[in-house]
Every structure is written in C-alpha cells, then in structure tokens.
C-alpha cells in the first residue's frame, strides 16, 4: 500500500502533463478563437500528419539533416575542445573566436549562409553544425582542463606518449563532461533544425508547420509543435540512456530520483 506522497511522486510527470492539457483546454474554451484549437483538436490532427507520405518524407529529411549536422559538429568539436583544454596556445587562439560567436543566435546567420549555399540541405546542416559546436567545444574544453595533472603523469610514467595520453587518458576522463555538452547540443540541433526550416522554407518539419500556419490550419500547427516536442523528448531520453551506460563509472553510488520526501 503506497502512501499518498509516494503516489504523487510516482505519477508526478503524468499529473503535470494532464494539468497542462487541462489549462490548455480551459484557455482554448475561454478564448474561443479559430487560431487556438483545444488540445483534443490538435492531438486529433497528429495521425493525419504522420499518415501522410509527403509529411513523413519531410520529417525524415529534417532528421537526416539534423543527424549529419550534429554528427559532424561532434566529430570536430570534441578533438578541438580537448586540445584547447590541454594546450594554452590552442586555447588562446580559439577562445576569442568562440567568445565572439557564442552570443550570436545561429539562426541569425541563416540569411547570409543562404546567400552562399542556397536554401538547400547544405545551408541548413551548416547552421545546425554551428549551433551544436559551441556547447560541445565548451564542455570538452572544461572537461579536459579539469583533469588532474597527476593522472597524466601516472600515464607518462607507464610510457604513454603525448598522443596516447590524449586519446587514452584525456578523452575517457573528460567523457562525462563531453557527453553533457553533447546532450545540450542535441536539443540545440533540434531547435536550429526547425528554425532553419522556418527561414529557408523548402522542406522539413518547420516548413509543414509554417505552411499550415499560412493556410490557417491551426490544428495542424499545434499538432506539429507536439510532434517536434515529442521528437525532442525521445531523442533526449535515448541519448541519456546511452550516456548513463558509457559513464556509469562516474555516476554517484546511489540512484534516487529527485524527491524531497
């Protein structure tokens, strides 16, 4: 027999979702305009989007761009961040560049990039690449910087060369921090993906959303928001499972879900 408190903490997430839907439903009924459908109307539109071949192709194209942009960004950013963390010269060369690019919204570069590369896949993948790179570089940098010097000395005493120390000590030791950066990067990839498709409207999930908006199909607009949100939650959860497996050695020895009971 569960106590009331345990029941609440067990079903907290579900309660929060139901609560949000109730508020949405209530607000939609109160406002009673065409541009704000009730949650039921929005949810009802989801199967017709996912059942439509063209929409599916669009969404898959979005995911493909996102995967390539994210993959290339991670492959470039991790080595760069690690080298910055271990070499003062490399860090002082790249730091100013990153400081300047950090606060610039990557979507704001989209018009310029479209001028160079057109409105196709390449421009969008480049924006995603830029959006993902910074958090991954930053966290790899911090992770590599925080490594205890004596750990590297121990490796050197065993005969590891500088390159081997980088690959076999710095990389695994910084992995928890690197993966934290990748997780942020993954969510940013999704955000930049949708934004890029809103600006360069040619295909993709963001394009479906804005086309529906133009045509006044507000249930489809909200349904797309739900679909994109669900993709984000799904990707994040999958990545979190992968992360927990890769760095289980660094997790604290207990496993208690957040609760203040």
């Amino acid at each position: 027999m569960m106590s009331g408190r345990a029941l609440v903490s067990r079903f907290a997430a579900l309660l929060a979702c139901v609560g949000l839907l109730l508020i949405w439903q209530f607000a939609a009924l109160m406002l009673d305009t065409d541009s704000f459908p009730t949650p039921w109307e929005a949810i009802r539109a989801i199967p017709s989007i996912l059942g439509d071949k063209e929409s599916l192709i669009n969404i898959l194209a979005s995911l493909r761009r996102m995967a390539i942009g994210f993959g290339v960004a991670v492959a470039v950013s991790i080595p760069l961040g690690l080298m910055m963390g271990r070499s003062r010269a490399v860090a002082s060369f790249f730091n100013p560049l990153l400081m300047v690019t950090y606060p610039v919204p990557k979507a704001a570069l989209m018009p310029i990039i479209m001028l160079w590369l057109g409105v196709g896949d390449l421009a969008k993948m480049l924006v995603i690449f830029l959006g993902v790179s910074l958090p991954v570089i930053f966290h790899s940098f911090e992770g590599a910087k925080a490594i205890e010097e004596k750990m590297l000395w121990s490796g050197a005493a065993m005969g590891l060369s500088a390159a081997q120390r980088m690959l076999r000590i710095v990389l695994p030791a910084a992995l928890p921090e690197i993966l934290t950066g990748c997780r942020t990067g993954l969510v940013l990839a999704l955000i930049t993906m949708v934004t890029s498709e809103m600006i360069a409207r040619q295909s993709g999930a963001g394009n479906i959303l804005f086309n529906a908006m133009d045509m006044g199909q507000y249930d489809t607009v909200y349904a797309m928001i739900i679909i994109i949100g669900a993709m984000g939650i799904g990707l994040d959860a999958a990545f979190e499972r992968l992360r927990a497996r890769l760095v289980k050695w660094s997790e604290p020895g207990f496993d208690i879900p957040l609760s203040f009971a």
């Binding site: 205890e148 050197a156 005493a157 005969g159 030791a173």
Partner: protein, 283 residues
Amino acid sequence: MKAVPVPSRSNVEANAAPVRKPVAAMIEIDQVSQVFRTSGRQDHLALSEISLTIGDGAFVSVLGPSGCGKSTLLYIVGGFVSPTSGVAKMKGKPITGPGPDRGPVFQEFALFPWKSVLGNVMYGPRQQGVKATEAEAQSRVLIEMVGLKGYEHFYPKELSGGMKQRVALARTLAYHPAVLLMDEPFGALDAHTRTRLQNDLLNIWERDRKTVLFVTHSVDEAVYLSDKVVVMTRSPGRIKEIVDIDLPRPRRRQELLLDPRYQKYVVDIERMIDDTSEEALRP
C-alpha cells in the same frame, strides 16, 4: 673502446629479478635548483642547489615543512618537472622525462576513474606489451598483496581513500619500476588507515627492497620507514641535514615505539625542524 650496451627488454627484466646487480648510486641529484616564475610577484626559489645520492635498494625520506620544495624534488626525479639548473641522474644517465623505471605514487591517488581496480593495475603491464591474460594474472597477485582481493571489479569512486592508495601502489608496482617515488602517499588518510598502510608498505618493501624516495611531513613516518632521512629547510628549499636511521629491520611498529633509539631520532629531527622554522620566521 667498447660501446655502451643499450638496455634491452631482457636487461630490464634482469633488474626486476630477486638477484640484482648492485648499482652504487641509483639516483644522483647534482646541484639542482628550481625557480618558479610567478606573474607580478618576485620569482620564487623553491629548491636551492640540492645534491643528494640515493643508493640502490635504499629507503630515503625527504622531510620538511610544507612549501619547502620536497615534492618538487620528487617531480624532478620523476622527470615530470625540469630543474631550472643542475641535473638529476638515474643509474648515471641524466633524467629527461618520465619513464617506467621510476614509478610515482601520489597523495591524490590519480587513479583512472573509468577503469576498475583490475583495469588500473593492468594498465602499466598492458602498455608495456604484456599479454592480457598474463597481465591479469600478475595484477590479481598484486591486488591480493595489497589486501584488496575481492575488489577487482570495483571502480575507484566506490573505494575509500586507503583502498584507493592501495590500488595506486599496486598499479605502480605492476610495471616493475626500479625506483618508487612516493609523494606524501598517506597524507590524505586518517591516522588509523595511515598506520596500516605504513606497515603494509614496509612488509612489501622488505620482500624486494626497491629503491624508494618518500616525501613526507611526518617525522614519525620518516623515521619508522627509512634508512635515511633528508631534513629540508623552507624558502629556499635546502638540505639542512641527512640523518642515517640505524634501526634494525624488519621493523615492527610496537617494538619501535618503545625503542629509546627510535624516540631519540624523532626528537632530534623534530628539533632540527623547529630550528629551521624559526630561521624562516626571522626577517
């Protein structure tokens, strides 16, 4: 003239075997000084013209107040830090960098947190090209020797400080260094754990009598473990005195604590350190 033989694998192994060719001086430190350049402030002279010879198989402690440069001296012998002037030699050859002939054990343990106890101990032998099965067998023996049988598959974060330091010792012994460099290895441990590790270290050392350079700020620890105690002064770090500890081995802690000779060494050395700190206070 005959060419100097290049040390081959078999030579190295011969050194690790119980019957060793005695080398008069394992480590020679010759006029070593270390200056740390600090931004803004005056340059800091950490070590001033240190000369010290450590014989093969000797257990030598370097004792001094914090900030006397004793750890820096150990890092120079390890090849982790280059001296500003002077030279440190290992078996007659100048030390230019770290190498598996000198195995460090640090106060901070510096274990590889992503490797299990077994993975940490096997790391050195594997790096040296020992086959996985053989490296594992050797490592299991060492893990048992340091009293951690049954913990082979634990990660460092799951171990206490004393256990971590046992793993660090086993990890270093695993690649058969000719010299152990111990940098305040028991400094972060509680008194009880510290005593147990000192006893275990002595037992292990008395089996194969490796050369040990041991840095500490504990007078009891230095006298209990060492053949020779190097007492240092602070700012700049200089050798004040080298005391030969002429106490019988194997040493047993309880007997030693009651031994008036042991007590006299401790009191004499404590006086030396008191003198040096007064000197340091003088303007």
